[in-house]
Each structure stands twice: as structure tokens, then as C-alpha cells.
């Protein structure tokens, strides 16, 4: 309920808070236009019930009766917005609707005032809002804020807002304006340059300075754009990597063409959904950790399915990769339809936890958290996989079996069991990929279909049986794709990438990092 605090604070500060209008509430029963003005009026009316009313309006608990009286609903009790006394209106109530314009009005009213909120983060946010508004009327408030502000970060933000407002006002002495332009140039983002570019009828030297600043900002922005592209590429690459990592095991190491790989990913995504439902039902406190808990769950589920598939289907088809391809394709069809019958055809809602939504602004770079975490996650998964293959007994046996099955068997390794585990591992990894994908894509029966071809491309491009290759190729494809997109458009970019891949495989049929010696061969 900091809105209330804010409003009260404001009454203390605003010099123009004194003259209240006749009935600031009146507009609330009218159209959006009227409501918007009412909100602005209320903010400065000093009416004790204003805060509660605006809060109710924002929360959608404000109702209007046919007789224009306004009521705030809390549970079953109705309170008259004007008088603050509870009662029962005659005639049926209609909710007072809010649209974006009104929301903006509310935000601005509150936004301006949080400038004095105790929490620095809030003050910075407020300053940012004011920067966006760059409204000359705010200058006095900004001056007051600057005067009492101590936190350097917040100070910076407020200075920028002040500079913006000052330039917009267009009355300050030239030297101040030049200083302001300098502040904006140092801010150096699009908003700043747009603001500078929009300056009109300025004295020549100011205009010149503004122009120089705009140019400077443009230069910086170009570099940032490059960096941004790389980030996009990495994040796409990491998604591809996750989708392909499991395949790098099943296809790369075992040489099994698992067309149902995508469905393993899909199962992982649905597991995430189930875990989330379970948490919602039994341990709402853990809601934020749902995704984390889903990772092992998805690994186990997909892994188990994988082992089952290997035992029941694939082991009968070793040495017949093309038949395996067909059988697993059939499996993928069945799995899709099964999920469709169980969960229904429509998408499932997997909510991203708070810590995974939103973005960080780093200079001109927008880094969305979910993407960032997925990049990290992909890195971890691949690292873990490599560790397993290299350092664990299981990994040792796997490599032994894949390098020389008969010899391995002779050494007393139970090759069938290793096969099952290897396939399980690959599928499990696919499941974990599903958890990540559930954060950025549809959780629907078709989820897997969208990634299967790309995954195979990644593995083949990287060189079968070589995790490093998979890593490099995934990231390369991601970045190439993202840098082509702006130039060629999304579709053509993808087509180009595919064609390039086809041509590349002609050149190097064994991929970027071909496996030396006995490679996987059909």
C-alpha cells in the first residue's frame, strides 16, 4: 500500500495541493477521458479517500452505481469511495474499467512521487519515468530531489531527468543547456539521442552540440547493436545446443538415429508443467524454485522413457540405422498423439518464475534473464555431459563400447546395459532441454517437431560423436542465423543457413570436427 504513503508524502510537498476541485470523484463514473482527469485531480485533491480510491481503481475493485455513487468492494463489503462509509447502493453496480491511457495516468501520478520513496531502486525508476516524460513542470520537483539526494546512482538518474526536462523547457541559459546535452550524451542511449534529435529552435551552438551528441551516441549504439546481435546469437545457439546435446549422445556416440528425440524434449517440457502444478497444489511457497526442481524430474522422466525405448525397440535395430530412423519416427508420432490425448491439444501454461523474467540493461545491451539463464544452463549441461563421459566409470565404459563393442564385451562390460544407459542419458539430457524450452516456447504436443531437424543439423555440422563439435556448431549456427535475420528476414535467414549446411556437408561430409578412425557410418 505504498501508493497511500506516496500520496500522503506528496500532500506534504506539493505547493499546488491546496486548491482542491469541487468533486474530483465525479469523473470516475464517466468515460476513460473523464476517469483519466479524475485520477489526475484526485492525486492533487488532498482528499483523504483519494489514495484508497485510486488504489481500488488500479486493482479493479471500484464500482459505480446508476446514481453515479462510487463503491469500493473488499470481499463482500462495499465502501462508498467518497465518504468512506460502508453501505449498500441501489441498482446493480458496474465495474469502473481502466484502459492503458488511465493506467498511464495512474503510473505518472504515482511515478512522479516515488521520486522521494525510501528505496533507491524506486527513486531511480521514478527518475527514469520522469526522463521519459521530460516535462518542464517537473523541474522544481527534480531540483528539490537533487538537493536532498545522496545516493550517487540515483543522483545520476535524476540529473539525466533534470537535463531532459530542462532541454524540453527550452528557456534555460545556453551554458546550462550545453551541460544538459553533455549529460544526455553520456547517457548515450536511443531515448537520449531521440530527445536530442527532437530539439527545435535552439541557439546555433546548442543545436550544433546536440547534433554532435546525436552522432556520438549513434556511433556507440552501433557497437552495442553488434554486441546485442552476439547475445541473441548465443542465446539461440544455446537453445540449439540444448536441443542437440542429447542427440550428440544418442546419434553422435551410439549412432542411433532417434527421430523421437524431439518428443523427449517435449516430455521434459510437460514434466516441468506437472512439477509446477504439483508445487502450486502442495507447496506454493516453492513456486519460484519450480523450474529448478523440474530439471532433475525431467531428466529422470525422459531418461526412463529413453531406457524403456532402447530396451523395447532400438536394441533390436542396432546396425540398421535407417530402420531405426523409421521406427523412432513412428514412435514420435505415437508419443505426440499420446500427449495430445492426455493433456489435450492446447498449449499448457508454464509460468516463468520472477527471477527468470525481465531484463537487465547494461549500457546499450538488453540482457533478458530467461535467455541468460538458458545460456548458463546450456553451458552447465554440456560441461556435466563432458565430465560424465570423461571421468565417470559409466563414461569410460560408454566410450569403450562405442569404440569397440566386441572387445568391450570381452573385457566383461555388459554392453546391452551400457547401451541402455547411454541412450537413457541422451534422452535425459533432451528432457532437461525441455525444461529450458518450456520457458521460451509453447508447451504443446508439437514442441519437439520444431527442433528435431535443427538438432540433427547441429550434430552433423559439428561432426558426429564430438561434443565440442556440437557446441561450436550450435553457437556458430545461432550467431550466423541471428546476424542474417536483420538483413534477410527470419525466413530467408533460416533457408540460407540450411542451404549453407547442405553445401558444407558436401565439402566435409564428416562435419567440422570429424571423429578420427571408426566414425558412425550407415
Amino acid at each position: 500500500m505504498n501508493l497511500i504513503r506516496v500520496l500522503l508524502l506528496m500532500f506534504a510537498l506539493c505547493p499546488f495541493a491546496a486548491q482542491a476541485q469541487d468533486d474530483p470523484f465525479a469523473g470516475l463514473a464517466g468515460n476513460y477521458e473523464a476517469i483519466r482527469h479524475a485520477v489526475e485531480a484526485l492525486a492533487v485533491s488532498g482528499n483523504p479517500n483519494a489514495a484508497a480510491t485510486v488504489a481500488a481503481l488500479q486493482a479493479g475493485t471500484l464500482f459505480a452505481a446508476p446514481d453515479q455513487s462510487l463503491w469500493i468492494r473488499q470481499g463482500d463489503t462495499l465502501t462508498n469511495a467518497r465518504t468512506g462509509v460502508t453501505g449498500t447502493p441501489e441498482g446493480d453496480l458496474r465495474r469502473v474499467r481502466v484502459n492503458n491511457a488511465v493506467r498511464r495516468a495512474i503510473e505518472e501520478a504515482t511515478g512522479a512521487l516515488t521520486l522521494f520513496a525510501p528505496v533507491p531502486a524506486k527513486r531511480i525508476k521514478a527518475a527514469a519515468d520522469l526522463f521519459a516524460q521530460h516535462d518542464a513542470a517537473m523541474l522544481p520537483m527534480l531540483e528539490r530531489a537533487l538537493a536532498k539526494e545522496t545516493d550517487p546512482a540515483v543522483r545520476g538518474a535524476i540529473e539525466q531527468a533534470y537535463a531532459a526536462a530542462l532541454l524540453a523547457a527550452g528557456v534555460a541559459p545556453v551554458t546550462d543547456r550545453l551541460a544538459a546535452i553533455d549529460v544526455l550524451r553520456r547517457r548515450g542511449d536511443l531515448d537520449a539521442s531521440n530527445l536530442l534529435a527532437s530539439l527545435t529552435n535552439q541557439p546555433p551552438q546548442v543545436a550544433a552540440a546536440a547534433a554532435r551528441a546525436v552522432a556520438a551516441i549513434a556511433r556507440v549504439q552501433r557497437l552495442w547493436a553488434l554486441a546485442q546481435g552476439v547475445f541473441y546469437g548465443l542465446s539461440l545457439g544455446s537453445v540449439l545446443l540444448l536441443a542437440a546435446a542429447g542427440l550428440a549422445i544418442t546419434f553422435g556416440v551410439m549412432g542411433v538415429i532417434n527421430m523421437a528425440h524431439g518428443e523427449m524434449v517435449m516430455l521434459g517440457a510437460y514434466t516441468t508443467f506437472l512439477v509446477q502444478q504439483a508445487i502450486g497444489a502442495y507447496a506454493p511457497a516453492l513456486a519460484g524454485a519450480g523450474v529448478v526442481l523440474a530439471v532433475p524430474a525431467a531428466f529422470v522422466v525422459a531418461g526412463a522413457v529413453g531406457i524403456a525405448v532402447e530396451r523395447l525397440l532400438i536394441r533390436f535395430l542396432y546396425g540398421r540405422p535407417l530402420e531405426t530412423l523409421l521406427a523412432t519416427w513412428g514412435l514420435s508420432l505415437a508419443l505426440q498423439q499420446a500427449v495430445r490425448s492426455i493433456f489435450g491439444a492446447s498449449n499448457r501454461d508454464v509460468t516463468s518464475p520472477g527471477w527468470m523474467s525481465g531484463a537487465a540493461q547494461w549500457g546499450g545491451l538488453t540482457i533478458t534473464f530467461n535467455r541468460l539463464y538458458i545460456i548458463v544452463f546450456a553451458a552447465l549441461v554440456v560441461a556435466a555431459l563432458m565430465a560424465v563421459l570423461r571421468f565417470t566409470p559409466l563414461g569410460l565404459r560408454m566410450r569403450a563400447v562405442t569404440q569397440n563393442r566386441r572387445m568391450a564385451a570381452a573385457m566383461g562390460i555388459r554392453t546391452p546395459w551400457i547401451d541402455a544407459l547411454t541412450f537413457g542419458l541422451g534422452s535425459g539430457v533432451a528432457g532437461m532441454a525441455g525444461v529450458a524450452l518450456s520457458q521460451i516456447d509453447n508447451v504443446s504436443p508439437n514442441l519437439g517437431q520444431g527442433y528435431i531437424i535443427d538438432s540433427f543439423m547441429v550434430v552433423v555440422f559439428g561432426g558426429v560423436g564430438n561434443l565440442w563439435g556440437t557446441l561450436v556448431s550450435a553457437l556458430t549456427l545461432g550467431i550466423v542465423n541471428k546476424f542474417l535475420e536483420p538483413v534477410a528476414g527470419a525466413v530467408l535467414a533460416k533457408i540460407f543457413v540450411l542451404v549453407l549446411l547442405i553445401l558444407f556437408i558436401q565439402r566435409k561430409p564428416r562435419g567440422l570436427f570429424p571423429l578420427k578412425g571408426r566414425a558412425v557410418e550407415a
Binding site: I257, L325, L326, A334, Q337, I453, M457, V491, K494
Partner: protein
């Protein structure tokens, strides 16, 4: 593939088609023997699928090339035919524009793109039906076989090929009607498409082309060329040391098969009345492969059998038990590969040893 089963297959295809056409045309609608036009165009569709299946079998069964992109050639042939049919609509389109197809009018294209030129001439269209798929196969195959891309790798890049085409044809800027594709055809070679007689004619024509395809395919695989091809399939490097150039053999048969698929597509389009990018979807190609597997790989006749049976199944399931269709199809995939690698024909004559890794080896012609 034995001569007996071939002749049997040919008689069944040609005779069956003729019979259906007759029952549809001659027998009055009331009678129990009457075959509804629906069934006629249904079987017309099956037979054009069968042409695709035989084309797939030719490369997979005899050259060991598992193409997961063969539907692309089918679709290209279909588009070539569709473009011709589109131009035939002329002023009967909703906008009555004599030159531009409807979709170009309302996306206000000003003039016909160059690659649509000439498609108003049937002869040109027919040539394109053969040339376009053939050319693509030639270029793709030349690149792939020359650099010895084989087995799974080949399968995967063929899939990438058809996927790329799928994306490309979805683009409206390509000028092929985007997702809507080409449809609302009026007539073909001046004959109205919607007349029953036309449908019967198309069915019979498809049957005849399928028979031709079978005969050509059979000649190829039983010739010395075919023997080399099978040798390449089972021991490619050995044939090299004998002085053969496997790439040349693969390329020839790949192009031939692509052209056959193209013709199938061209016959398919007028019978189903639409061609659109989803024909390029990898799933279609894989489904075509399973038709072959069901009938029996490397038997040509089996391809026809498989195509017809699987599609009958599809028609039946999607009508009677919609929810079960994908389960059924999935089961077919798994069962065929697991328990009858020889396909139905393999079941019919237990010649192929269960263990042969490549596939049931086709028996030589007697």
C-alpha cells in the same frame, strides 16, 4: 522382383482403375454396384502416391539411398502442373484477371513474375514437370554423391533440402501463393476438371503412368546397370576397385526417380485440387518411405501395395477413429521395421534372411 508378381500388380492396377472408372461412369448412381466419384478420385490419389512410392523404392531399395526428401520432387512436379492449371483459370478467377492468379491480384502484384511465363502452354508445363524435379535432383545428387555423402548423412541432408523448400514456398513473396498454395482449378487441356468423366480419365491415366513407371523401373533394375546398382548398395567401395563410378550410377537413378516422383505429383494435383507447401513437409517424405517398407523394400511391386494399403488405412482411420490415426501409423512404422523387415512381400515369400543389415536383398530376376 518376379515377373509373375509384376504382371499381377500391373493387371490389378490397370484393371482395377478401369473397373472403378467403368462402375462410376456406366452404372447408374442408384445401383449397389455404383462407385461414387469420391472413391474414384480417392484411388486416383492413392495411385499417384504409389508413383512416389515406386520412385522412393528405386533409390532406397536398389541404390541404398534413403531419401527423406523425395516428397519435394513430388511437390515440385505438382507445382509445375498447378501453375499450368492456375493459368488455365484465366478470367474465371474471382477478380476475373486474365493474366494474374487471384492471390497475386489481392496482394496487388502488378505483373506475372518471369518464372510463371510459359506455364499457360500445356507442352511447356509438361516439360517443366519433368525438368524441374530432375534438375534439382541432378544438382543435389551431383554434389552429394561426388563427395561421397552416404547413409544417414544423406538422409539428413535430403530432409534439410525439403525443409528448406518448405520454408521457401511458405513465403508469399515467392509468388507461389504462400500457405494457400494453388487451388480452385477449373479445367485441364480444355476439359472441365469437375466432370466425373474427367476424374475417371485421370484415374486411368494415373494407372497407366504408374504401369509405365513400374516397367521402366523394372527394366533398369534387372539390366546390368541394375546389377551394378545393387552391388553399389551392398559394397560400394568394392565396386570402385572394380572400376565402376558409384556416383554416376547413383546420380542417374536418383534423377530418374526424381522425375518419376514429379510425374506422380503432376497427376496428384488435378485429382486433389490443391497443391500447397505442406506437401514439402519432411513428414510426407518419411511417410512415403514407410509405404515402401510396408510393401517390401526393393520389390517395386511392394511399393505400390504399401502406398495403397497405408493410405486406405489413413482414409479409414481419419474417418472412423480420428484419435487413433497417429497411433496406428506409428505402430505401422514400428511393427514393419521390427517384425517384418521384408515388408508384406517379404512375408509372402520368405527369401530375404532376417539378418541382412542393409535390408532384405532383392532377389535377382529369373
Amino acid at each position: 522382383m518376379s515377373r509373375a508378381s509384376l504382371t499381377l500388380c500391373l493387371t490389378m492396377v490397370l484393371g482395377g482403375a478401369a473397373l472403378l472408372a467403368l462402375l462410376n461412369l456406366v452404372v447408374p448412381a442408384g445401383s449397389a454396384l455404383h462407385v461414387p466419384t469420391y472413391t474414384v478420385s480417392l484411388f486416383g490419389k492413392y495411385l499417384s502416391y504409389a508413383m512416389l512410392a515406386v520412385a522412393v523404392d528405386l533409390v532406397w531399395g536398389f541404390a541404398g539411398i534413403l531419401s527423406l526428401g523425395h516428397a519435394a520432387f513430388f511437390a515440385l512436379g505438382g507445382y509445375a502442373m498447378g501453375m499450368y492449371l492456375m493459368r488455365q483459370i484465366g478470367t474465371r478467377g474471382v477478380y476475373g484477371n486474365a493474366i494474374l492468379p487471384d492471390f497475386m491480384v489481392f496482394l496487388n502484384w502488378k505483373s506475372l513474375p518471369w518464372y510463371w511465363q510459359g506455364f499457360d502452354h500445356p507442352a511447356f508445363a509438361i516439360v517443366m514437370v519433368l525438368v524441374v524435379p530432375g534438375l534439382l535432383a541432378l544438382v543435389f545428387g551431383w554434389l552429394a554423391f561426388r563427395s561421397r555423402v552416404t547413409g544417414v548423412y544423406l538422409s539428413i541432408i535430403t530432409q534439410a533440402l525439403t525443409y528448406a523448400l518448405l520454408l521457401a514456398f511458405f513465403r508469399n513473396d515467392m509468388g507461389f501463393g504462400g500457405n494457400n498454395g494453388l487451388t480452385d482449378f477449373k479445367d485441364m487441356f480444355g476439359i472441365p476438371l469437375h466432370a466425373d468423366a474427367t476424374r475417371d480419365g485421370l484415374l486411368v491415366a494415373t494407372a497407366i503412368f504408374l504401369a509405365l513407371e513400374l516397367l521402366i523401373a523394372r527394366y533398369v533394375v534387372t539390366s546390368r546397370f541394375g546389377k551394378v546398382l545393387i552391388a553399389v548398395r551392398d559394397a560400394e567401395s568394392r565396386t570402385r576397385f572394380l572400376g565402376y563410378r558409384p556416383e554416376a550410377y547413383k546420380l542417374f537413378v536418383f534423377v530418374l526417380s526424381a522425375v518419376m516422383a514429379g510425374v506422380g505429383g503432376a497427376l496428384y494435383v488435378p485429382q486433389v485440387g490443391i497443391i500447397n507447401p505442406s506437401e514439402f513437409s519432411p513428414a510426407n517424405s518419411i511417410e512415403a518411405v514407410i509405404w515402401v517398407a510396408v510393401g517390401g523394400r526393393g520389390t517395386l511391386v511392394g511399393a505400390v501395395l504399401g502406398a495403397v494399403l497405408v493410405n486406405l488405412g489413413k482414409t479409414f482411420f481419419t474417418g472412423a477413429l480420428p484419435e487413433l490415426w497417429l497411433f496406428a501409423l506409428g505402430a505401422v512404422f514400428i511393427m514393419v521395421t521390427l517384425v517384418l523387415p521384408g515388408g508384406l512381400l517379404g512375408l509372402a515369400r520368405r527369401r530375404a534372411p532376417r539378418a541382412v543389415p542393409a535390408a532384405p536383398a532383392p532377389e535377382p530376376a529369373e
